[in-house]
């Protein structure tokens, strides 16, 4: 029996605030053995990141460990009693931290390799350049990156590459413990799988312990050996992953597992019995793309595509794909934020780039949007009711102040928010989930005909995704609004949509009803996407472990023409290739 790399005994962490002391973590005890991967899972605010930062002794002021011991390594060094300088030396060399926001975790003005060298020099003293370079090159190669990446600046790398650089940094001094804080939350499923493979590969090779922080039960099931479930700073359940996934004891753990929407699984929606009348007026199709192409310079973001969305019956059309597939480009074309390079985008038979001022006003009212980032959508200087009230009045929908108030309250209730608690607050006082619901409520107040939802749930906790999607689904189901749902999450697209379009490099790879496209994919690219979803099921392997296989697969996807998997009434799609 080897001795553990980390022993936490009765650790409590307090944040003194003017309103009193907040106990962020309450007497947490845990040991981690070498070579073992432990997942910390829980919602935002459950104390998982706080615990990790306490191990690094990097708690944000005024947070402090109020009691307990954190013992690192076989020599049982208590990190809480080390001097500043000793703690500095322990970081990275003994315990390394792979941060959540890999997108911004590298110094933008330094080359990647310089940021590896400064870490080596800080711990081992000055060495010659050749040694440093050979070590950084080796570290980059160990995470599957070519050595030339070291010569680049961070902005020249993709998100997946940056995350791998952070992993390379984390293992460059072969630590005893690696803490990875949601290392893949900003990545799409295909990249997520590749990065997780890399991380577990290097971790196994150096035989260190690993703490993986996350909120996605599927990812945990496929990646870690043990699970620690945290809720409100309390460790509610701890055991092997199989034990917890297959036989969860605590109700909270059960919630976490069941909140993951599964392809083919039970639906989390409860559709209305009778379909509501559509918001559509007039005979023209609601939205039409006529041979639309979009190019940015030499890059074609969207290949020629035509479709008509009749809108006689409200429908949800999902557009899925990885980052860079052209799905957000489609969204901004529909909203008129971008003009097509060729072709036309028509709303109710009118080219949206040629609307008169009054038509444009009508278009803006009738086509609403919900965006990815619920934090950036509010003006921080106004109470949130302003965000609801202003467009309502601006579009001339308000009959009186009392009418506006009623409309706001109804919209809030429709998305499950208590108007009395919410409306008078400022944006920073609300959670991400509450903000995203407010954006949905704001769109609802204007009773639009069409809603463009661009990754509406990718930044909220997994446990909240289902309920926010339900709000969005209700817009169609109860209010008769047609929706274009842009996402990288196939499982939710499977449940909410009437028709799915899978985009790859600006081309339609596969399209049809979700049961066909996602339930039984035929196109190599769709197959890869489905394959990359981590399932919260221990008996279901997470696809291939060979990344070259994925590349061969993508090469096949590149040449495979569009596969049509059946039609639905009211939506027609056609593509043409030169």
């Amino acid at each position: 029996m080897t001795s553990p790399v980390l022993t936490m005994k009765d650790v409590s962490i307090d944040f003194p605030t003017p309103a009193g002391i907040v106990n962020a973590v309450k007497s947490l005890s845990l040991t981690i053995n070498p070579g073992v991967k432990v997942g910390f899972i829980g919602e935002s605010g459950s104390g998982k990141t706080t615990t990790a930062l306490a191990i690094m002794r990097m708690l944000a002021a005024p947070g402090r460990v109020s009691s307990g011991e954190i013992l690192l390594g076989q020599d049982k060094t208590n990190v809480l009693t080390l001097s500043e300088e000793e703690m500095r030396r322990a970081r990275l060399r003994r315990v390394s931290y792979i941060p959540q926001g890999a997108m911004n975790s590298l110094n933008p003005v330094m080359r990647v390799e310089n940021q590896m060298w400064d870490a080596i020099v800080a711990h081992e003293g000055k060495t010659d350049l050749a040694t440093l370079r050979s070590r950084s090159d080796a570290a980059l190669e160990s995470v599957g990156l070519p050595a030339r990446v070291g010569r680049l600046h961070p902005h020249e790398l993709s998100g997946g590459m940056k995350q791998r650089v952070c992993i390379a940094l984390g293992v460059i001094l072969t630590p005893e413990l690696i803490i990875a804080d949601e290392p893949t939350s900003a990545l799409d499923v295909v990249t997520q799988r590749q990065v997780m493979e890399t991380l577990t590969e290097v971790q196994t090779r150096i035989g260190c312990g690993l703490i993986l922080i996350g909120h996605d039960m599927g990812l945990m099931a496929q990646s870690v050996d043990e699970l620690a479930v945290l809720k409100d700073g309390v460790l509610v359940e701890h055991g092997t992953t199989r034990q917890i996934i297959e036989n969860p004891q605590h109700p909270y753990t059960k919630d976490l597992i069941s909140s993951v929407p599964l392809v083919g699984g039970e639906t989390f929606l409860s559709p209305a019995v009778a379909a509501p009348a559509s918001q559509k007026t007039g005979p023209e199709p609601l939205l039409e793309f006529r041979n639309v192409t979009k190019r940015y310079g030499n890059v074609t973001a969207l290949q020629p595509m035509s479709f008509t969305l009749e809108g006689d019956v409200p429908q949800i059309i999902s557009i899925v794909g990885q980052s860079g597939s052209g799905k957000s480009t489609m969204g901004s074309l529909m909203l008129g934020f971008n003009e097509p390079s060729d072709g036309q985008v028509l709303f109710e038979g009118k080219d949206i780039s040629r609307l008169s001022t009054s038509e444009a006003l009508g278009f803006r009212k009738n086509v609403q949007a919900v965006f990815q980032d619920p934090y950036a959508c509010f003006n921080p200087f106004y109470r949130v009711e302003h965000a609801l009230k202003f467009p309502f009045k601006r579009f001339g929908l308000s009959q009186s102040d009392a009418h506006t108030q009623t409309a706001m309250e109804e919209a809030c209730q429709a998305v499950g928010l208590d108007p009395d608690l919410i409306l008078r607050r400022y944006p920073h006082q609300l959670s991400g989930g509450q903000r995203q619901r407010l954006i949905v409520a704001r769109a609802l107040m204007l009773s639009p005909k069409l809603l463009i939802a661009d990754e509406p749930v990718s930044m909220v906790d997994a446990s909240l995704r289902a309920s926010i999607l339900k709000n969005i689904y209700d817009l169609k189901d109860k209010y008769g609004i047609s929706i274009l749902y842009i996402t990288h999450d196939l499982a939710t697209a499977y449940h909410v949509s009437d028709y799915v379009i899978v985009l790859y490099h600006g081309r339609v790879a596969e399209a049809g009803p979700p049961k066909e496209v996602i339930g039984n994919p035929q196109h190599p690219y769709t197959q890869l996407l489905i394959d990359s979803i981590p399932w919260p099921d221990m008996n279901r392997a997470w696809g291939t472990s060979n990344r070259f296989d994925a590349e061969a697969h993508l090469a096949k996807a590149e040449v495979q023409p569009t596969i049509y998997r059946g039609d639905v009434d009211g939506f027609n799609l056609s593509t043409q290739f030169a």
Partner: protein, 337 residues
């Protein structure tokens, strides 16, 4: 990165010339909107000197001819533009008939010396102090002392200048009261002259520094707070880097970038000098020249100085545009691939 693409360079040079041309035109038009006739002012000055002037109309016409303001506006404008290209702004109306370029040439070096020196000192001190205000590991003394020192920023430079003069010149007699150099030294590249210039420039420079460092410190403080919250600073700490290294290479290095743009804009303005500071210390710089020219309605001099200010600003912005991609790798010269 690397070399600057030619198309970008041509583009920037054209922008530079256009800016200067438009600005030069504006500073030509604006004084002509004034109802004051500079020839009458010159005549008035002569009359005040001699008691009375005979043949006033004739002299007035002569003055107008020699100032070139009897010609049609278009001709005046074209002549002005031609002059601007060769830094010929005609003759000063107040110190008639000294050429404007000569007045500027004799004042400019004094101001540039004083101002560039104090701007550089201010930039370094201000940004450093601003950074230390934010840095977690700054000694407490620094965190208390800097905001206290900021009080000086709100003191008008005339007052702080007078205070410095009273303490260091009048009471302690460490520094001379006024002037740019001593009366006993010959201007020239001799050690005693340089020594005298430095000796005389010290107090004005200090009074500018203590008044203006707050601008940089407060700006830097705001930028540092943003940078401090960046993920790369957090990761730098997690990497176990030395705190001082993080401060310089991760925090200040990134926070300073917008300040460099501000620095370029300040360079142009500094030609006009700290008018009041130069005035108090009787320092023969551009500020004093501009001040006198405004009092005397000396259009050619005002025009000449404004032109130099615009040229300096445009050129320093132009240089920053060229340099920026080298200090911030995220920015590229347009047309660079």
């Amino acid at each position: 990165m690397g070399r600057i693409p030619r198309s970008y360079l041509i583009n920037r040079v054209i922008t530079l010339l256009l800016t200067v041309w438009i600005a030069a035109t504006l500073i030509w038009i604006i004084p002509r909107l004034s109802p004051v006739d500079p020839a009458e002012i010159a005549l008035g000055r002569m009359a005040a000197g001699a008691g009375s002037v005979a043949n006033a109309d004739e002299i007035l016409a002569q003055l107008r001819a020699s100032m070139g303001i009897d010609q049609p506006l278009l001709i005046q404008y074209l002549k002005y533009l031609g002059g601007a290209l060769t830094f010929d702004f005609g003759l000063s109306t107040a110190s008639f008939p000294t050429p404007v370029s000569q007045l500027i040439a004799s004042a400019l070096p004094w101001t540039l010396g004083l101002m560039i020196l104090s701007l550089v000192i201010t930039f370094v001190i201000g940004n450093l102090l601003g950074a230390l205000m934010v840095w977690e590991r700054s000694p407490n003394l620094v965190k208390v002392a800097i905001p206290a020192a900021m009080v000086f920023t709100s003191i008008p430079p005339i007052l702080s200048g007078l205070l410095l003069m009273w303490v260091f010149s009048a009471q302690l007699q460490w520094f001379p009261l006024t002037g740019a150099y001593g009366l006993t030294v010959e201007p020239g590249w001799t050690w005693s002259f340089v020594q005298s210039v430095l000796h005389h420039g010290f107090l004005p420079a200090v009074s500018i520094v203590i008044v203006t460092f707050g601008f940089w410190a407060l700006g830097m403080r705001g930028l540092m707070i943003t940078v401090q919250g960046e993920d790369y600073v957090k990761l730098a700490e997690a990497k176990g880097l030395r705190p001082r290294y993080i401060l310089y290479r991760y925090m200040i290095r990134n926070a300073i970038l917008p300040q460099i743009t501000a620095f370029a804009l300040k360079i142009g303005l500094l030609v006009a000098g700290q008018v009041l500071v130069e005035r108090i210390f009787a320092y023969n710089g551009m500020g004093k020249l501009l001040y006198d020219a405004i009092l005397d309605q000396d259009f050619p001099v005002i025009q000449g100085i404004s032109y130099v200010i615009i040229l300096m600003t445009a050129v320093s912005v132009f240089l920053v545009d060229l340099i920026y991609p080298f200090i911030d790798p995220r920015i590229r010269h347009e047309g660079d691939t």
